[in-house]
Amino acid sequence: AQSVAQPEDQVNVAEGNPLTVKCTYSVSGNPYLFWYVQYPNRGLQFLLKYITGDNLVKGSYGFEAEFNKSQTSFHLKKPSALVSDSALYFCAVRGFREFSGGYNKLIFGAGTRLAVHP
């Protein structure tokens, strides 16, 4: 069964410093991985995805994620954090179901709250 773990409930970082939000996964078959961000009282916004190819994936708002197959990790990174990056971040893995060609049923981690301090 597919699952995702986000080991940190909260990450604190100073503005301008690099940030990392950790994610590890467990899948059968090839992993399809996603990062979403959630601001208060809002839905989830797509940041980036890993399907295949380069291990470093670039996404929206300057975020990127590094896929590491040997460590089964997909950590979210940003070289220089902004206060406006403060939000809840979710890692997700595709839970594939073979119905009519399949679809992206997402399995989410519990989320990591990122706090960027001025």
Binding site: R42, G43, K49, R97, S100, Y103, K105, F108
Partner: protein
């Protein structure tokens, strides 16, 4: 903007009442998903539609939960005889393709349901 729209944004109901939550997906999106997000948790899958067909309802927690998408666009999630444990944010998401596996899901802002 033509994003996913959910209504109402907030719903308060007394235990035992029935509620109906609406989702307007992005126009032309074939796939529609419902998720339940409990406080402090990640979203959990409830059900999936491809056009009007409900292809997966394995995440619905009980037979009190019912979802439909009769014309392949707007969807309604209905909860009968609500209980306090139904209190959560209900998120709707849509994606363009039906069988394409890699397209991101676009989420609405959710309906926050509180059962008193």
């Amino acid at each position: 903007g033509a994003g996913v729209s959910q209504s109402p944004r907030y719903k308060v109901a007394k235990r035992g009442q029935d509620v109906a939550l609406r989702c307007d997906p992005i126009s032309g999106h074939v796939s529609l998903f419902w998720y339940q997000q409990a406080l402090g948790q990640g979203p959990e899958f409830l059900t999936y539609f491809q056009n009007e067909a409900q292809l997966d309802k394995s995440g619905l927690p009980s037979d009190r939960f019912f979802a439909e998408r009769p014309e392949g666009s707007v969807s309604t999630l209905k909860i009968q005889r609500t209980q306090q444990e139904d209190s959560a944010v209900y998120l709707c998401a849509s994606s363009l393709g039906g069988g394409v596996r890699n397209q991101p899901q676009h989420f609405g802002d959710g309906t926050r349901l509180s059962i008193l």
